[in-house]
Structures are given as C-alpha cells and as structure tokens.
C-alpha cells in the first residue's frame, strides 16, 4: 500500500504535526512499508466478528454523582506554558493577528 507525499502532508495537518520536506520523504517511505505490512490483515475473514475495542467486558462504570474535591485553578494553571492569573493564553484564534 503506497501512500503519497500529498497524503502524508494532509495527515500531518490532521494530526497537527508540521513535517519538513525531508521528514515528508522519510515518512512517505516508512508509512508505505508499514501500511504494506498491514495488508496482511486483509487475509483474515472477519465476517460477523464483533470488533473488540477493549480487553474487558465492563460497561457503564459509574461513580456516585456528587461534589468531590478537584484540582484548584492555581494548581492546574501552574503547569501552563503561557497563562495569566485566571486563564490559559493561546494565540489569536480568529481573524488577523
């Protein structure tokens, strides 16, 4: 299964990565190899097999719906790369900078 450079660029955008030309070349070749290997799965007849997303068959694990202590704002903001007293700060989302 070959993957094109353009597809690699598109996937990089979806995955929020930015690849250099050289990385795009390397990634195109390596992903091509790996996806080629995965063609193996095509051999398996999976008609009617329920997908298994999880190792345990547990569902609807609920906790009591009550107020519990959680991280206070300062502790949460303390790890932020860019912040003010109350909020995380990010570059402009809309319009011109």
């Amino acid at each position: 299964m070959a993957i094109s450079r353009a597809e690699v660029q598109k996937i990089a955008l979806l995955g929020r990565l930015l690849l250099s030309d050289e990385e795009v070349s390397r990634m195109t070749a390596q992903l091509g190899d790996i996806l080629g290997y995965m063609e193996l799965l095509g051999e398996v007849d999976t008609t009617g097999i329920e997908p298994m997303a999880h190792a345990l068959d547990v569902t609807n694990v609920l906790r009591e719906d009550g107020v519990r202590p959680s991280l206070d704002r300062e502790a949460a903001l303390a790890t932020a790369p860019h912040r003010d007293a109350e909020c995380y700060l990010v570059p402009a989302v809309l319009g011109e900078v």
Binding site: E7, R16, L18, M27, Y37, L40, L41, V44, E50, P91
Partner: protein
C-alpha cells in the same frame, strides 16, 4: 553477600529483623547508582537526599515500634511514565521535559503508603513507544550485560537498573511488551498484569485499552511482593477491576501440581533465534522434570498480532496524544518566531500567486521557516514551511495558511515529539481518517477478538502458555533505528497478551554463548497472576539463571 545482591524479599526480612536499616540499604543502592549509572544510564533523575530522608524517617518509625507498610524501607525505582507530584515526569519526551504533575499516580501513592523509598525515575522510550530505549529524547540506556546493546523497551531503564543491582524493585508499564521485552533482554523478572488489575490513574496514556502498570524485580517472589501492593481497585480508574487481590507473596511459594503447559507452534517458527529456542526448550524440560505435562497448540491468528497491534496502538496513541497542544501543560513553541514564520510564508504565497512577480519561489519549502527549534534541539523543524501546493494539488494561496493557533499546535508538536512518536501519530491519524477507518481500525478490532478467542481455546486445555519473549537476544544500539517495521516485528511474541488482555511474565531462562540473557515468557488467562507467579517461582527454585550478575565491574 552484599546488600545490593540480595532480593527484595531477603532485604525486607533483614529490615524486619533489624539486621539492616533502610538508610543502609538505600545508601548501598545509591552508591551502586553512583558507580554504575554513568555507563548504564538507567535513571533520568535520582534524588539521593529525598530518598535518604525518607529512609531515615522509616527507620525512626520502625525503631519507635510504629506500624509500617508492606514495603517499609525498600528502595523502588519508578518509570518516568508515572506521575509523581511536584517532581518532573517527562515520559522520555522533550514535550514533558519540565512538566511537574500536580498529583501522584495511584501506584505511586500506593508505594508511598506502603512506605517504599522512591529512588528516582527511570529512562524509557518516548511515551513508551519503542522496544529499545533508543527513542528516549534524552539518551539511550545501555544493556548491563553488554553496554553496546539495547536494554529493550520501553521500560529499558526499569529493567536495566534491576539487572545492574541499582534497585531491588522497579515499576514499569507494558502496552505491547514494554515490561517483558526489557526484562528478557536484561535477565530480570517482569510481569504485565491483566488489563484492569492495576490502576492506570496517573500513568501517562499511550494506548488506553492496552496499557498496564507492572513490577520488575530479580525473582518471582519479589514480583509477588510488589504486585500485592500495586494491584487493586481504584475509583479514579473506571477500567480498574473491583476484584479481591490475592496474597501473592504468600501463595507464590506453592508449586503448581499437575501443571499443564502449552507450547504454541507458531512461536517456534521461522525468525526465532536458535539459541533462544534452545534455552526456551530447555526451560520446558525443566518444567517437565517438575511434573508438568506439555501440550502443543496452535494460535492460528498469532501471525496477525503485530499488524493488529500496530493499527490499534497508534490509533489510540494519536487520539491520546492530541492533548499535547502547548496550552495546558508541557512544551510550547516560541510564538515570536512562529509569527515571523507565518509572515514569511504569507509573503511567499502572495508572491507566488502574483503572475507579475519575477521570482516564483523555489518549489521546495526549505528556505522558509525560522529555525526556531534550537531551544528544544529538534533540528527537523527548522526546514518546515507551507508547501506551494495544497494537499489536493491546487496552487496554495495565503488563505491556505494555518491560522496562528493551528500553527502553534503544529510547531509545538513538531518540536516537542521525536520521530517514533510522530510516526505513530501519523499512522493512527491515517488509520482513523475518513475512508480508512473500516479497512484498518475496525478490521484490527475484529482480528483482536479472533486473537482473544484463540487464547480462550488454548486456556481450555492448558494452565499456562510458555514460549520466547523476543525472537533474538539484545541487539546493538543503532542496529534497527532506521527500520521501524523490523523494530515492530521484534514485538511479535508479546503484543498478543495486551490485545487479549492476559497476564504475562518474563523470567530469565538462559544465556547465549556470548553471555546475553534469554527470557522465558509465561502467559496466563486474565486475572490468573497468582498461577503465573507460582509457575515462575517453581522454575526459579529449580534453576539459577535469575541469580546471575552482569559483568559490569570487571569491565570498568
């Protein structure tokens, strides 16, 4: 025998009998780290002062006759994938180089409550992605048995520190073999518990349906001691199971009478190193001499396990790692140089779109993009720039340029993640993208069920499955680094236990002629850790592979 050569269970007996203090043995292991870690490089950080202070406090409480926890005074090393409150938790990544979590992982909390002495944080492949420790963003760990070779991964530091007698106990995590592979390559014992047996709260997530925390030590007896402390229900992890925790440390000494051992035909096929195969077959003969019966079985879907795993794990990883956005915690790109980069690119795209302009920019983007990555040492990001064509092949215009927030995400991640993490994000994003989801992700989930059904059938006939851990002994550092697919295929015997949600262990079962350790993998049905540990212990009672020491001092 020197303190550092004793097992954790022996050391605990010494402490309890007041024949040794926690300060003495903590100091002995810290000295050993001082002597050996310059070569092995198993630790990312060690805090001798904090460890000694803690040891002193436990000794004081013991002297005063106060109640103490199960591991009171025993040093334990922690893989840097587990959150330690207020202390750096890097996950082997530049992305988290300066991250200090505001809380402890549940297993860390359990270790503290058991009065263990936390020695330091061990090296690992970045975000636990890798089988060699070469993907650590900081430095590779070396195999104590042969320093030019890899220790295995991703819990390479966790295994190497136990092998080199720098810690009696350590904590690792295993998503596709990350405890068992390094345990095998470093000649120590390691156990991946059943998914759900140990809390994942505070474990930095890689693939959430596969990740599991587990112990590494020199003996099965020590694994039992440590697992007893780690295991148990945690309301903070909805996937942890509310089942009673057996007294592993007591039952481990009971041999399995009438043990039915299964051997898998597909595990002894092409690709298995001759010396590894010989050691594993020898180990099976040991079990037979102890009264076990052996049955050959087939797991018809085992040839698909690696492909299945390397679809599912990257899919989950690409989703989990979306959280590294440069906003909440971790690394963020330099915004000033980012703004300059966007300006340059806008200019270039405007020029390219204007037919009257003479210089229509080179088709390569290499000239664009401020080399902003120097600060984090990610040279790859220096040559980045918007392509002159869009992914659809149309001529790009300034409107196609990333908005500043998107570019902040992309530069942050380009600079903060290493090559293997990027590869897995790309793979996962691809396999989950529109048009490919059914062919890859859904298909892999279906094959996963078939892999599980194979094991269900096998465990109807045998109690434990025995086989190799890895196809070859430890390879040389750098040997596979440019060939990700061959690195992935190294996991072929270990990934199935994660896909199927089994309990599995690796114990030493021999050495190559060149002196490299060989591991024996034992697999048990879900939640049968007790059986696994008893099976491992009876082997260690009959053999002495687990007592061998790496020839580190002779080499110095």
């Amino acid at each position: 025998m020197a303190l550092v050569d004793r097992t954790a269970s022996e050391l605990l007996a010494e402490l309890t009998a007041l024949r040794a203090t926690s300060v003495e043995l903590t100091r002995a292991f810290l000295d050993q780290i001082e002597r050996r870690d310059g070569q092995v490089r198993a630790f990312l950080r060690v805090d001798p002062a904090a460890a000694l202070a803690r040891a002193e406090e436990i000794d004081r409480r013991r002297a005063a006759g106060k109640p103490l926890g199960r591991l009171a005074g025993l040093p334990v090393a922690i893989k840097d994938v587990l959150c330690t409150q207020g202390e750096a938790t890097t996950c082997g990544s530049r992305m988290l180089e300066h991250f200090r979590p505001p809380y402890d992982a549940t297993v860390v909390q359990r270790l503290r409550a058991a009065d263990a002495v936390l020695l330091g944080k061990t090296n690992m492949d970045e975000f636990a992605m890798g089988g060699s420790n070469e993907n650590s963003a900081f430095f590779p760990t070396h195999n104590p048995w042969d320093l030019v070779r890899v220790p295995g991964g991703s819990s390479g530091g966790a295994a190497a520190c136990v092998a080199a007698r720098m810690a009696p106990l350590s904590i690792g995590s295993d998503t596709g073999g990350s405890i068992r592979c390094p345990a095998g390559l470093c000649g120590v014992s390691g156990l991946k518990p059943t998914y759900g047996r140990v809390s994942r709260y505070g474990l930095v997530a890689f693939a959430s349906s596969l990740d599991q925390v587990g112990p590494l030590a020199r003996t099965a007896e020590d694994l039992a001691l440590l697992l007893e402390v780690l295991a148990g229900h945690d309301p903070l992890d909805s996937t942890s199971i509310d089942l009673p925790v057996p007294r592993y440390s007591e039952t481990v000494r009971q041999p399995l009478v009438g043990l039915r051992l299964g051997l898998i035909r597909e595990h002894f096929a092409a690709g298995l190193d001759g010396q590894v195969e010989a050691a594993v077959r020898e180990a099976v003969a040991v079990y037979q001499s102890l009264g076990a019966t052996v049955k050959w079985l087939s797991l018809p879907h085992s040839k698909y396990a690696v492909a299945t795993y390397y679809v599912i794990a990257p899919c989950e990883a690409s989703s989990n790692l979306a959280r590294y956005d440069g906003v909440h915690y971790g690394y963020r790109t330099d915004e000033r140089s980012m703004a300059a980069e966007l300006d340059q690119e806008r200019g270039r795209l405007q020029q390219a779109g204007d037919p009257s302009a003479t210089a229509v920019g080179a088709p390569s983007a290499t000239a664009v993009g401020a080399p902003s990555a120097a600060a984090v040492g990610a040279p790859s990001a220096a040559a980045v720039g918007a392509p002159l064509t869009t992914a659809a092949g149309a001529r790009a215009t300034p409107d196609d340029l990333d908005n500043p927030l998107v570019r902040m995400y992309r530069r942050t991640r380009a600079e903060g993640f290493g090559p293997e993490v990027k590869r897995r994000i790309m793979l996962g994003t691809y396999a989950l993208s529109a048009g490919y989801y059914e062919a890859y992700y859904k298909k892999a989930l279906q094959v996963r069920r078939l892999v599980r059904q194979d094991f269900d059938r096998a465990f109807a006939e045998v109690d434990l499955v025995a086989g190799p851990v890895t196809p070859t002994p430890a390879f040389k550092i750098g040997e596979k680094i440019d060939d990700p697919l061959s690195m992935y295929l190294f996991d072929l015997y270990t990934v199935s236990a994660n896909l199927a949600g089994l309990a599995a262990a690796s114990i030493p079962c021999g050495f190559t002629s060149g002196g490299l350790p060989i591991g024996l993998q034992l697999q048990a049905p879900p939640f049968h850790e007790e059986r696994l540990l008893r099976g491992a212990h009876m082997f260690q009672q009959a053999t002495d592979w687990h007592t061998r020491k790496p020839p580190l001092d002779q080499r110095q």
